[in-house]
Point group: C2
Amino acid sequence: VSHSTANAGDPETAREERTARAHLSRVVEPGDPGLSGEVAEHGWLGVARRLWSGHGPPRWQARHKALTSSTAGLLRAVAKLGIHVTVPGDATWPLGLDDLEAADLGPVACLWVRGRLPHANGAADLSRRGVAIVGARACSSYGQHVATELACHLTAQGWTVVSGAAYGIDAGAHRGALAGHPGAGDARVATVAVMACGVDRAYPTAHADLLDRIVADGGAVISELPPGSAPQRWRFLQRNRVIAALTATTVVVEAASRSGAAGTARAAMALSRHVGAVPGPVTAVTSVGCHELIRDGIATLVRDVGDVIELSSPMGQGLLDVGPVDGPQAVPGAGLLPQRVVACLSSIDGMSTAQVALVAGLDVGHVRSILLDLEHTATVARQDGGWIRVGRRGRLGTS
Amino acid sequence: VSHSTANAGDPETAREERTARAHLSRVVEPGDPGLSGEVAEHGWLGVARRLWSGHGPPRWQARHKALTSSTAGLLRAVAKLGIHVTVPGDATWPLGLDDLEAADLGPVACLWVRGRLPHANGAADLSRRGVAIVGARACSSYGQHVATELACHLTAQGWTVVSGAAYGIDAGAHRGALAGHPGAGDARVATVAVMACGVDRAYPTAHADLLDRIVADGGAVISELPPGSAPQRWRFLQRNRVIAALTATTVVVEAASRSGAAGTARAAMALSRHVGAVPGPVTAVTSVGCHELIRDGIATLVRDVGDVIELSSPMGQGLLDVGPVDGPQAVPGAGLLPQRVVACLSSIDGMSTAQVALVAGLDVGHVRSILLDLEHTATVARQDGGWIRVGRRGRLGTS
């Protein structure tokens, strides 16, 4: 967990600005059209101080007055849950967020983080090595397969997969990322879930286990909304601009015509990010949004991880990164295969051996043999004819 | 059948040039790199006269000497089979073929025609109202469905569908075109099959019935090769350039990476034609060529008939042409539905009711009721659990 200074000048001012930004994240709704102007005039600390002394837009004052805890107190309380705040100047502040203001998409005051973000030393920052994989909740098995495969191959090659933890494509992206990642011991961050609610909440609740696993395996669950925030409908739109800004490339794997994922793609274009879309059958409603993005010239048609890396890299560089990544050899070391199988499983919903094999990209016979071994060590169990993950891995970031 | 003059000046010269071109089509292999230069120097009639007097490239002289019939005799003989020749200046000479020479793709001496080509009065010429639908022989049921649907909707809106009569996408395109066309009574040409052999031969032989049906329903089977020519491997490549040159747009519906259909698309690009490609699942080998064409900027992603017409039309015009074309109302008049069902059937391979419904774009229950009616009138029959077409419709253009 990083707590480096937000301001290289004065440590005390930096601490105050961190608290000010965290406070404003509690008071100002993401995307509030007035924030940018107020900050330009008074600075983050100035805007917060004005609120503390009774100034600023009435909508902010109203929320400020309604708070029942101090922001310093909240920061201390959530630290016990493994939640911290990152602000500009921190080693883990994602540099891509700095582009939001210029694109007129509204600045992010701070990020609330559960888990670990890459250190923004340049090379590992999400704006260079992060790919957003987004798409429909009601996706097809084809879309689920493609999202999982892309994510698995991306993390196996050291990329970080960013998504929104929703059902469907998002979940496939996160699960694939976990399956492809060498594991919690690896310094690289497999996947980051960007929430439209506080990071202390699981939304959807059925993904509580997935979110815990993301944190446990060395990734992060993040939000610009403070802990306790509810996933209101309008917050998803704002959340999508954060996903687009964080990453080098947004890939849409299946989306309806005017969907949130298509909106993320348009935000990515506004931010001069790369945009890819995976085609599908023209007879499938699930691919309508992708085909529109390609036809409208917003997205490049991407077929596989090679296309995504080529799209995401400085010119020509990506081509060198793409080794033979098909099949099990994408995960370095055969000893990691059981871990990859476990990463595919949920602790709630049983999956058939064939489903696990599909997600893991392994042969069914191979997966069956691994599952039987894991059953002996009580790492997995059978439930309603499927397999679930069991074991004592803690919640909230303890691994 | 059109026999207008090849040369507006002198009818005798025109007749001689028609015979000269027909003769050269028997002697010079399509795409021969020497033809263009010889014609530029001597003219078509001059090149033929030189052969008759023992001059010209040895490869042509050898073939010229090996002929066992005069070209005038051949023209008379094939006329009895409903086959005629069309040359530049004829009302049915497709204007698009004139672009082959400028694109350095080799001129076409003449076309041998069984059936009826559109009169090239401008509006109806294939270069304005013709769309090539091409693709893999080993296509998926998805590709078959899309080719059939596109073709059906195109002919229902008065467009002519051009293809190569091969298995797979080609056959789907021709069958869909016949299904969507109002029938032989309509002046518009539903579909044109461009052969890589003589028009007197059926290749593949299993498509003899399909080719007959194309002619019987007011379409055409054409080739630049004279009757009797065999479908040699290299002739398919040359045939593909003719398909591309004839039409306003080439649409590829499923193709392997270095396939003939992808070659047709590249020829179409070289001829400054529009090129469309239908996307499919990235997991399907059958769509690899289409995705390449889109990524390489050669083809525009097309999803449906609206996209194809928009692509094929002078700017903006296509948008006005697209009415509500989904479902049965695309065929004007409910009395035409039995005809549409019959058009979907083969007289050799049985099709299930569901398959017929898919191709015809009608409800299964509706198709079943039509088929049962048609069985009473002995227009269709059951064979091996499927439906086939029966009846006394003659071959070679008699309807």
